[in-house]
């Protein structure tokens, strides 16, 4: 068979377009959506299942806490700060109170320090257990939720027995902690700080938490589909993470060995033996794994603290009206979500002149446009969930 020149010319003119030109769709994920942890809004431009541009829109939860803090006294501000990251309310109070004490140059009694430390670690366990509960749910597995939340309830009960509050304890005072709720005789001036049976219950709860960690490691970490959904997804290299200001478990999952509990001295972490958990790949699975093992490390710290808790007063001597002398300081702490810091400026009155809150989630989600570029729609949810943010912590 021969092809004449006409046919050849015709064939050369035919161009076949294999790429279909399709319009892209703008998909609003949130502010009302099951997986945005509240009122985060993502504006995603999607082409089928692939999102090539995702922009987070924040501010739906802005409550103006920095401004509110300027018109309140120091004692009132603790009620505000534990509403920033409500999943670990207790841990938010610590850096603020420590900042006040630092300017006042107060020496906090060791027992109060230990109580603060125990409750902070319990807040960390509770917060990470919420992540352990919600993250598999975002990947479609409903059952781990109940196991994780069951043990979280145990920890929250303990916190409630000490502070009187499950989410918003408002337990710290400048120079110490509040006497325990409903315990001790007021008339005899003997103030009991921890409720009866706290040590025993806390040890039992820590054992149960460790058990549920093993359970979750089997149920979630041992699941092939979870591996397929999270390994190699949402990889954040250490340098990129650091340049976006990531902190806490999200940064440690990328292999950065930075834990403010080891670096700073806001609580006596130096007395205890614990490891900083770091991941290697910086993907969603590592972020899950790091948090799981941080729960284990936290139970270690709590157990050591219970064994070694000193006796003594729980409140330093402070004047009736707290006035922080003129000065400014920045105190940062390792919160469950990452680095939380307060820049406190005092002009010598009974309320601060200015408080700048550096919250972990705000910096953590700043990486979303970078890490969500070109991922699949289900991966948006998987990556977003793995960053473990709380909207109150983003918007303040």
């Amino acid at each position: 068979m021969t092809i004449d020149s006409d046919t050849i010319r015709h064939l050369s003119e035919v161009s076949v377009s294999v790429e279909l030109e399709t319009e892209d769709m703008t998909l609003n994920i949130g502010p009302q959506h099951p997986s945005t942890h509240g009122v985060l809004r993502l504006v995603a431009r999607v082409d089928g299942e692939r999102a090539f541009d995702v922009q987070p829109v924040i501010g739906y939860m802005h409550r103006g806490y920095e401004k509110l803090a300027e018109v309140r006294t120091y004692a009132q501000i603790t009620t505000i700060v534990n509403r920033i990251d409500w999943v670990s309310g207790y841990a938010n109070e610590i850096p603020f109170i420590v900042a006040c004490e630092k300017i006042m140059e107060l020496e906090v009694p060791p027992r109060a320090q230990y109580i603060r430390l125990i409750l902070t670690e319990m807040a960390r366990i509770a917060s990470h257990l919420v992540f352990m509960a919600s993250y598999p749910l975002e990947l479609g597995a409903a059952s781990p939720l109940f196991f994780a939340l069951r043990e979280r309830e145990r920890v929250l009960d303990l916190m409630e027995s000490v502070t009187g509050g499950r989410f918003h304890p408002n337990f710290n005072r400048v120079g110490g902690v509040k006497p325990a709720y409903g315990s001790g005789s007021q008339t005899r001036k003997i103030v009991q700080d921890l409720p009866a049976g706290f040590y025993r219950d806390a040890r039992a709860a820590m054992d149960r938490v460790l058990e549920v960690c093993d359970e979750l490691e089997n149920l979630v970490g041992g699941n092939e589909i979870i591996h397929a959904r999270t390994k190699g997804i949402g990889v954040i290299p250490a340098e990129v993470g650091a340049s976006f200001g990531l902190s806490g478990p999200n940064l440690r999952a990328s292999g950065v060995d930075l834990d403010l509990r080891k670096v700073e001295d806001y609580l006596p972490y130096g007395d205890f033996e614990f490891d900083v958990v770091t991941g290697t790949n910086g993907d969603c699975y590592d972020r899950w794994w790091v948090r799981l093992n941080e729960i284990r490390e936290s139970t270690r710290i709590v157990k050591q603290a219970i064994d070694g808790i000193p006796s003594g007063p729980i409140q330093a001597k402070v004047p009736k009206v707290i006035k922080v002398p003129k000065g400014e300081t920045y105190v940062r702490a390792e919160n469950p979500k990452g680095e939380m810091g307060y820049y406190l400026v005092s002009d010598g009155n009974n309320g601060p002149y200015r408080v700048k809150i550096r919250s972990a989630s705000f910096s953590n989600i700043s990486i979303l446009p970078w890490v969500l570029e070109g991922v699949l729609l289900p991966d948006i949810i998987a990556i977003m969930g793995s960053l473990d943010f709380v909207l109150g912590d983003v918007d303040r």
Partner: protein
Amino acid sequence: MIADLLSNFWVALVAKLLLVALAIPLIGMVVGFGEMKLSAKMQARVGPYFAGGRWGWAQLLADGIKFFQKEDLIPRDADKPVFKFAPVVVMMGTVALFVVIPWGPGLIFRDLSVGIFYALAISSLTTVGVLMAGWSSANKYSLIGGLRAAGQMIAYELPLVFSALAVVIMAGTMSMQGIVEAQIEAGYPFVILQIVGFVIFVIASLAELSRIPFDLPIAESELVMGYLTEYSGFRFLFFFLAEFANMFSMSAIAVTLFLGGWYLPGIPADALEYLGPVILVVKSLILVFAMIWFRWAFPRVRQDQLQSLAWKWLIPISLANVILTGVFKVVL
């Protein structure tokens, strides 16, 4: 007297309609209640407890009544006729599937000579309804859900058909009763030689039913509620019941193809007349249990993983299974 009455066409029609209208919601409710209670057991919960006085047996009845009381919301921009018709299409596929399920010797609505072919064809009608729901809702999440359902159906219909085809080769017939009888004649359920086919059939029917790990069309955490997002009230109830009834009917078909259907060795032939339905229901409920078990133990796969599982693994394996079965059938 009753026989006279039933010989009247219209009386018989009404009786049949009532039977279908009661039986399918009943099956749906039994499966749904099982799901509620089993998931509760798996998650350290109690589950339904108060409705009906004991074990909350009336929970789904109460839910059903609640759905009827709800306002029937239709989005303003929705394609109204399609939106209204979609739940009916889904329910139609479900009801039509029950036509060819053999409940016992001689107990079948219609023993079609193309029984299994009909069953596989009519079961995809459900997906058409889902696609209609997703398209007409005027909601982007619904649209993505509907398109995912369509993609899923195309991918998983093939392994479903191929694994059923191997059974048809072994039985030498496409009639559902014929397949059961072939298994009785052979003396063993086909699952023994068709274990690969059985596994593929169950996986593919999970995807057909869009149950976890393949519930991408709904994908609560991604697509809010997928194609169901805009549905409420009794239209939602239709989808809900159809899902559970479909779980049962797909299991019944799997039981018929692979597990001997209504037959159990050792039971005399005349007793099978009455015990046949019981045996079929028990066998099916075992498969339904497995589906519920998967639902609460597994996370969801991603769309590309779902597709690659179908095209790279299930279809080649089921094709090889068909070829092997054919070769053995000819050689032996």
